[in-house]
């Protein structure tokens, strides 16, 4: 796992009796949660950072930040990559069942953001039947949208970050965004142009997460958090980060008087999503998306690849140069970058739907690789075969279609099959532009269940179900053709 370490409170405590308190968070989440200090990227700041510092001080230890991807935070805590995770981790019944979880130290509201013109039309989720609503994948908000999909036909759109949902709201790609009020307010400050509906869709809580067996440390942390609620330290920190309001004061009162926090029905239902039975239909849907995406992308890759290869063999110097440049640029840059450029970069010119952008992006990327396979295969067809065809009176186009192409296809079949299998796996990259395919759906499920074992096995089984028959089919075809 990709882990970066950075100290947040001076030099690391060298004492063996008081090792530093390692706490995990994702600095990519940004302020006010955890963000890298602009003046020193090795340091982090934010209210989660300050909560972690309070806990460390209370334990007589120094805090040590451990960078971890937000989607992996729970699994990393269980692995023991750090002592506690504090990074806007949402409290959920399923999480409590799997891990040691602290008392909720912050109450947040899931709020809808809409374009000003829709302020009166889309006040709550039920108003968004048939409309696209964006959010971060693997979150309580995403579960709420899945619930809304069943109840009212809301169309959930999952993002890997919390910036692009608001950009796409303003661009008209989605009709609303459902996220934590802190994120919504931060985005409004950065990119004005939308409104936040005052009525929350649900209430949620941020908690610290520890490995399941680490209840002793969790209990100590709970005591420290209660003490900091009582002495006003937490309130001071939250005020400093501009996230304190009346509802937070009431939440503190409830926690300190040990009144259970009100759970919303939506959150409880969200946890029920974490069963295998409920996952299978969504897995199959996502597998369908992966299959369709891969087939369409490969069709584009084959068609364009063939054209590029033919152009590089038969074309004039200018065409050959342009096509060679296309191949080198595409092969020399990451496919992720290409997907971002097509989906976000070109949105000012052409606003492609996410699935179409994914198909085009993968198709154009793989076309470059396919073209090299076809070029090599076409050039491998012997000159004698081409001359024989020429003496029979076939035109160059006919020779390509009837003699050279079919013979090259046989040579290209094995590498083409390899590429198709690779494309099926690479299709998982398109989740960065909001397409929920097999791997993304699996990641969502794994986050919900807190384990990659069953989701990983199911996901691998589906990928193998795609790739193994394909390889067998290619081998059979090769045998048949070589027998010919």
């Amino acid at each position: 796992m990709f882990v970066l370490c950075a100290c947040t409170a001076g030099p690391r405590n060298e004492s063996t009796s008081h090792p530093p308190l390692e706490w995990g968070g994702d600095a990519e989440g940004g302020a006010p949660f955890v963000e890298a200090d602009a003046s020193d990227a090795s340091k982090v700041r934010g209210f989660d950072v300050e909560v972690a510092e309070m806990i460390a001080r209370g334990l007589g230890r120094s805090p040590q930040f451990v960078q971890v991807a937000w989607s992996s935070i729970e699994a990393s805590a269980e692995r023991g990559d750090f002592d506690i995770a504090m990074s806007g981790v949402e409290d959920r019944p399923a999480l409590r069942a799997r891990r040691a979880v602290t008392i909720p130290y912050f109450e947040f509201r899931e709020v809808l953001a809409v374009r000003p013109a829709d302020r009166d039309r889309y006040r709550k989720l039920a108003d968004l039947a048939g409309r696209k609503v964006a959010t971060l994948g693997s979150t309580m908000a995403y579960d709420l949208l899945l619930d809304g999909q069943k109840k009212w036909g809301v169309v959930p759109v999952s993002y890997d970050d919390d910036v692009h949902p608001y950009g796409d709201l303003l661009a008209g790609r989605v009709d609303a965004v459902l996220l934590d009020h802190i994120i919504a307010e931060r985005s409004l400050r950065r990119t004005p142009g939308f409104v936040i509906q005052p009525e929350p869709v649900a209430i949620g809580y941020y908690v610290g997460v520890l490995a399941k067996g680490n209840t002793a440390l969790r209990d100590s942390v709970d005591e420290i958090l209660r003490a900091r609620m009582r002495d006003g330290s937490l309130e001071k920190s939250f005020r400093a980060w501009n996230v304190w309001d009346d509802s937070e004061a009431k939440h503190f009162e409830r926690v300190l008087s040990a009144v259970p926090a009100p759970a919303t029905g939506s959150i409880a239902r969200a946890s029920s999503m974490s069963t295998i039975g409920s996952y299978v239909p969504s897995l199959l849907r996502a597998a369908g998306v992966t299959a369709l995406l891969s087939i369409l992308s490969m069709a584009i890759a084959v068609s364009i690849g063939l054209g590029v290869a033919a152009g590089r063999i038969y074309g004039g110097p200018i065409m050959r140069g342009l096509l060679a440049a296309y191949v080198e640029v595409v092969r020399g840059t990451p496919v992720l970058l290409q997907l971002f450029v097509i989906y976000y970069g070109l949105s000012g010119v052409v606003r492609l739907p996410a699935f179409a952008a994914a198909v085009i992006g993968l198709g154009l990327n793989y076309a470059a690789y396919e073209s090299e396979i076809y070029r090599a295969a076409l050039e491998a067809v012997s000159r004698a075969q081409l001359e024989a065809a020429r003496t029979l009176g076939l035109s160059e186009a006919q020779i390509f279609r009837l003699v050279r192409g079919p013979q090259a296809l046989r040579l290209a079949l094995a590498p083409m099959t390899n590429d198709f299998v690779a494309l099926i796996k690479d299709s998982s990259l398109v989740s960065v532009i909001t397409v929920v395919e097999l791997t993304k759906q699996t990641a969502i499920y794994a986050t919900n269940t807190g384990s990659w074992v069953i989701p990983g096995i199911l996901c691998a089984a589906v990928y193998l179900a795609f790739s193994l028959p394909l390889s067998r089919f290619a081998r059979r075809l090769e045998r048949r053709w070589s027998a010919a």
Partner: protein, 223 residues
């Protein structure tokens, strides 16, 4: 009778090397002309020049009223009359590996000469039968013996109906019995009025079946 094929003062240079140095040659309809000579004498090069597969430096080749001159090869569309009149059988037969014997034979008539598929199939069946390989119609080239492959290649070259047949080393992969059968086949083709120009180093075969032998040495006709 006027010649089916006339080659005048044919010169071919590759860089400073002269491959053909003024070859003159005529082949009449119904005649089998054997080009003899050691490897590198220029036999195959003459066939390739006649089939418009290689440009030449000077001279002229006449096939009926169609002429080839020196310089760059004409576009394929301008070579259509030549392709209709001249068939070529390559040394390694060069049958299309992905097509069956009969598909090899019907390919050109259907796609290059506008014959219907049904008609091409009938004609191909007759050709393969006349060459004794009708029973191998559905075999792929790699399933054919050397002799069978060569006869299919002859059928393929004859399918567009050429009056001139060029053959490059036709006996190189044949045992003596097959050479005899091939010779008989070539005689039959000549008797139908075709002109045959055969590049071979097999003097025995040439003596037995050719009407005329032309000896080449270092790009010059010596006998």
């Amino acid at each position: 009778m006027s010649a089916a094929l006339t080659i005048r003062d044919l010169v071919m240079k590759r860089g400073s090397r002269k491959i053909l140095q003024g070859v003159n040659l005529e082949v009449a309809p119904g005649e089998i002309c054997a080009l003899l000579g050691a490897s590198g004498a220029g036999k195959s090069t003459i066939l390739r020049a006649v089939a418009a597969l290689e440009r030449f430096t000077a001279g002229r080749i006449d096939i009926g009223d169609f002429s080839l001159g020196p310089g760059p090869l004409p576009r394929e569309s301008r070579l259509r009359p030549l392709r209709k009149r001249v068939g070529m059988v390559f040394q390694a037969h060069s049958l299309f590996e992905h097509l069956t014997a009969i598909e090899n034979v019907t390919l050109a008539p259907v796609h290059a000469h506008g014959v219907t598929h049904a008609r091409a199939l009938d004609d191909a069946a007759v050709l393969l039968d006349s060459l004794g390989v009708a029973h191998r119609s559905d075999a792929y080239p790699r399933e054919l013996s050397g002799g069978e492959a060569q006869r299919v290649a002859i059928a393929r070259a004859l399918a567009p109906g050429p009056m001139i047949l060029l053959m490059d080393e036709p006996t190189s992969a044949l045992d003596p019995a097959r050479r005899g059968a091939l010779g008989a086949t070539l005689r039959a083709l000549a008797e139908q009025g075709r002109a045959l120009l055969i590049a071979t180093h097999d003097i025995e075969f040439a003596r037995a079946y050719a009407d005329r032998m032309v000896e080449l040495s270092e790009g010059i006709v010596t006998a």
